[in-house]
């Protein structure tokens, strides 16, 4: 057990190194390739087109990737802990879809111009929150009885469909300016021109990690199920409700700045569990860092694979995630046999 703590530290060290390498890759690759050796000099003289590319384009994207990837992966970990199922995450439960619909509504209603950009995370949060409780109530037969995971996943998928259909409806009746914005939110992208939104995202992700870490103990107890966790002195209903709110907050903010990026919260927590185990004290941090790395690399791929054009990053995570989803499904079957 004490050796386990050493293993955890080693694991985190490896992740930090990987994150650092991913940041370097992301800084250096793109439409203009900038070699690593030149970077210190560029930052020293603070001028030239390369400096602009690094600070105006790439750094904000890196901060976005780290915070959005980390937050989505963290949310996936939390939801999987609460539902005791490895297939739930913001995307599969429709929480991202609900959040995106909220954001789309805010755009169509023109609230961004009249009130300010911060209504986007607010509407994203509201959409996510409504979805998460809707999924919970429908998945548990209106709040009574135990959680029926199949039902809940189906409800989540249906909510995603309904949300994207309503978004189509909004798109067909709205102006072409808004149209572009909504498409962007449906596909997911880390290109965010509004620096204050990037700041909100970064602070929210870090704060989310810190707050959620205080729930490592209840989450660990929940591994035994709600009843046994209560026997260990954990107030499970308060814990679960609080974690729902945190999850929808984080998802809502992610969706409002980056759109719907699916499966990050599925792929990364799954890999982290395989490598280091299910103890939430390591899983929470590990998943956050892993999510950051995954989204950074996915973004680099999305930017370069069909250069000079750019692919929505959600395409990359969606392909990777779809495969992992099927993999998890089959692994689960073989375990239960």
């Amino acid at each position: 057990m004490k050796n386990r703590y050493l293993k955890w530290i080693l694991f985190l060290a490896v992740l930090v190194v990987l994150l650092f390498i991913s940041i370097i890759i992301s800084l250096t690759t793109g439409e203009i390739n900038i070699s690593i050796s030149k970077i210190p000099a560029i930052f020293k003289y603070k001028s030239g087109i390369e400096y602009t590319v690094l600070t105006q384009l790439r750094l904000p994207r890196i901060i976005m990737a780290i915070s959005v990837g980390g937050a989505l992966s963290l949310t996936g970990t939390i939801l999987q802990g609460v539902y005791r199922n490895p297939l739930v995450e913001p995307y599969t439960l429709g929480i991202s879809g609900g959040g995106a619909l909220g954001v789309a509504l805010a755009i169509v209603l023109g609230l961004v111009n009249s009130i300010g950009a911060f209504v986007l995370p607010l509407f994203g949060f509201a959409g996510s929150m409504i979805t998460i409780f809707l999924v919970y109530f429908l998945g548990t037969s209106l709040g009574k009885g135990s959680i029926n995971i199949n039902k809940m996943l189906l409800v989540g998928v249906m909510i995603s469909f309904v949300a994207s259909s309503i978004m189509m409806l909004l798109m067909s009746i709205t102006t072409s300016d808004n149209l572009h914005d909504i498409v962007f939110w449906m596909m997911g992208s880390l290109d965010e021109p509004n620096t204050s939104l990037i700041k909100i995202m970064a602070y929210a992700a870090l704060l989310g990690l810190v707050i959620v870490y205080f729930f490592a103990r209840p989450l660990n107890a929940l591994r035994l199920g709600e009843t046994k966790a209560r026997h260990l002195g954990i107030n499970t209903s308060v814990t679960i409700r609080f974690l729902f709110i945190i999850s929808s907050l984080l998802t809502g903010i992610c969706v409002s700045v980056a759109g719907v990026i699916g499966f990050v919260g599925l792929v990364i927590p799954h890999l982290v569990r395989i490598i280091i185990g299910s103890d939430y004290r390591i899983q929470l941090i590990g998943s956050f860092l892993g999510g950051s790395i995954f989204l950074l690399i996915s973004d680099v791929i999305a930017r370069t694979i069909i250069a000079p054009n750019e692919l929505p990053v959600g395409v990359i995570t969606g392909i990777a995630g779809g495969f992992v989803f099927i993999l998890v499904l089959f692994r689960q079957k073989s375990i239960s046999k």
Binding site: R217, H231, G277
Partner: protein
Amino acid sequence: MAKTLQIQSLRCGYLGEFELKSIQFEIKDGNIAGIIGPNGSGKTTLLKGITGELPLKEGKILLGGKDLSKMSLRERAQNIAVVTQFTENADLTVEEYVLMGRMPYRSSFQFFESEDDFQLAEKYMKQTHVFHLKNKMMSHLSGGEQQLAAIARALTQEPKLLLLDEPTSHLDITHQLQILNLIQELAAGLKLTVLMVIHDLNLASEYCDYLLMMKEGELYKQGTPTEVLTFQNIEEVYQTVVITQTNPLSKKPAVFLVSNKVLKQHKNE
């Protein structure tokens, strides 16, 4: 002698459905009490009432003189440990699982186990004979080993009261006796008060100091095994014909069951 558990005119149960009525009993320190009765008589409901899973509608539960309803969930978990009959399928090692028993003692700001926590876990794993399994996954253990690990986890909670829901169901007699002998040692050694639901009347008779016989949500009889396990009581509560005799060694009642075929033959003779 001090009484760990006192239940006073308890009424509790599911909304609009089955409920327990006017349950009243006391268990002395270090005693093992068994709850017996047919299926659906309210045995598990009684346990759930004491753990707080079911809200009380009336009455009081006192633990060491303290009202349970005034304790926080955490305080409860420091005083009462529960071993359920369901097997463990979470991917945890035995040691991780047993260490969870220390959770009620850690605050939200204590992220890691202390040296004491490790020592207690080790001590109780040794006492329950699962120390050699500490790095094995819970889901890979046999039913008996899982039950022992669950008891080790319960003990690391250092409770005053240990509640067990059918600790020996699904086990062969070797493991049944191993578990019950262990519980008996623990009750005596740690001055632990034990309350368990137990189906097998003969095991209940041998191992329990005190028996609570339930019938349709009420406490039909309570007392020592000799007082409770009479053939009249058993026939009344279980609606079956039995023969009771005395175990020549333990001097406790032993219950024999009789098949219908034998009963008919007997009546004809």
